[in-house]
């Protein structure tokens, strides 16, 4: 899988800093699992954090420092395992990538591990959804092929990772593996490609803002 749409640099930095809100970090993790390019950029973002760490001016008073130091030395005696050669890097567990229904591991706690076992709820004509357990702003969406969603923008940020099928909007074609990293300044009208339904997982940190009056009315009932 080689995604074409990636996480915004500021999202990667926020993830590296541990500052991304939980629902956004789950979708970012879903993308990172599938995108070697973003994993490399994440390493760079983490290196930035560590470079800042090294540049801090330590302020620990000397007696406290000595106390902690002595405590650490005592612990080394207690826990010392025998010297050992570096282990062979263990191969990551076999991932059943051949199974097209298998969901990225970041999503397992919220949606289970298989697309096939999802229990969809009807939301609007051609649109089904599932809200994550204990994470109301994390949702999985299934949109029928060839469907045009109402024009909308996002309250603050939205991250959407495509899992199946694809859609087009002003930013281009979004296919499996691609992430749309959007904020309030982007207004878009996704149109799903013909063929298979488009399944994606989205994190919203504020409600969507629909620009049409009809869509706004519908929103009152479907609560997106």
């Amino acid at each position: 899988m080689n995604p074409h749409h990636h996480l915004h640099e500021s999202t990667l930095m926020s993830y590296a800093a541990g500052a991304l809100q939980a629902p956004l970090s789950i979708v970012a993790g879903t993308h990172l699992e599938q995108c070697p390019h973003c994993r490399q950029r994440l390493r760079d973002a983490e290196a930035l954090g560590s470079a800042l760490l090294e540049q801090t001016q330590p302020v620990l008073d000397d007696t406290r420092r000595e106390t902690l130091r002595a405590a650490m030395l005592a612990q080394l005696m207690d826990v010392d395992p025998p010297a050992m050669p570096p282990p062979e890097r263990q191969a990551p567990p076999e991932r059943p990538q051949a199974d097209p229904e298998y969901l990225p591991a970041s999503l397992h706690p919220y949606f289970g591990d298989s697309l096939a076992s999802l229990r969809w709820r009807w939301m609007a004509p051609g649109v089904h959804c599932i809200r994550a357990r204990q994470m109301p702003s994390l949702i999985m969406l299934k949109i029928a092929p060839g469907k045009c969603l109402p024009m909308h923008s996002h309250g603050r940020s939205e991250l959407t990772q495509v899992l199946r099928g694809s859609y087009n909007d002003a930013l281009g074609l979004f296919a499996p593996g691609d992430v749309a990293d959007l904020d309030a300044e982007v207004e878009h009208q996704p149109v799903t490609a013909p063929g298979v339904p488009c399944i994606c997982v989205s994190a919203l940190d504020a409600p969507l803002v629909f620009s049409g009056w009809l869509a706004r009315k519908v929103q009152r009932f479907v609560k997106l």
């Binding site: 915004h8 500052a19 760079d44 001016q57 130091r69 612990q75 826990v79 050992m84």
Partner: protein
């Protein structure tokens, strides 16, 4: 000084003619832990030079050398405390987490691979994850992070540990070239773990502006780091 020359550099500011095959210094020639503590605490200039910990880490992993470990400890312990306090951990909790972070280094030193990045980056990740797990109790993060690390384990990294070290030294220089506003936003992101929305609110700056400043800062730093992308 060429960054790689620091391979042979010791904390007492002398140089050894270490061969690349024998990177870890002979423990007998090094200052005692107490001397090291004094040197580290009395010298500010050392903190400006990046240090290559490959030798000490090798000593910890293969020889279980406590002196090697305590040199790493003396350098990072107070810095980790500053970082963890900045994230909002109370003083005592910050100290406890920093100790645990370094104890993990002692226990898992064999897992450290210098080709994967600097030792400080490894410690940074451990400290960040510990804080999210113990202070913020966000189990969702821990699960996501495990999934991402699992995927990352399969990545082929084509940079040698010496190149990684040079990258890191360059990165540290470039941080000083950020504009005042970029530096401030970067610090708020990493050292206060503020979301971009919170930063925007705190500074009365539009969210889009915060994000584009951070993006430019990242590209500036990254373009100089190893030429990746």
């Amino acid at each position: 000084m060429h960054p790689n020359a620091a391979t042979a550099r010791r904390k007492d500011n002398t140089f050894t003619a270490a061969l690349p095959t024998q990177m870890y210094p002979d423990p007998r020639n090094l200052p005692s832990p107490l001397d090291t503590a004094r040197i580290v605490s009395s010298s500010q200039q050392l903190s400006k030079e990046p240090m290559n910990w490959a030798g000490d880490m090798d000593g910890v992993a293969r020889l279980r050398d406590r002196d090697c470990f305590m040199r790493i400890y003396d350098h990072f312990m107070p810095r980790l405390c500053v970082y963890l306090r900045g994230l909002g951990a109370p003083e005592a909790v910050a100290e406890e987490l920093a100790q645990e972070c370094l104890l993990r280094l002692w226990l898992r030193a064999a897992e450290f691979d210098p080709a994967q990045g600097a030792l400080s980056t490894w410690l940074y990740r451990i400290a960040r994850n510990l804080h999210i797990d113990r202070v913020r109790h966000e189990r969702s993060w821990t699960l996501v992070q495990a999934a991402v690390e699992n995927a990352a384990a399969a990545d082929v990294l084509d940079r040698s540990s010496a190149e990684q070290f040079a990258d890191h030294a360059r990165l540290r220089q470039r941080i000083n070239e950020l504009s005042a506003v970029q530096a401030r936003l970067v610090r708020m992101s990493y050292f206060e773990a503020k979301s971009h929305g919170e930063i925007a609110q705190a500074l009365g700056m539009p969210l889009g502006t915060v994000k584009s400043h951070l993006r430019r800062a990242f590209l500036l730093l990254q373009s100089k780091v190893g030429g990746a992308s």
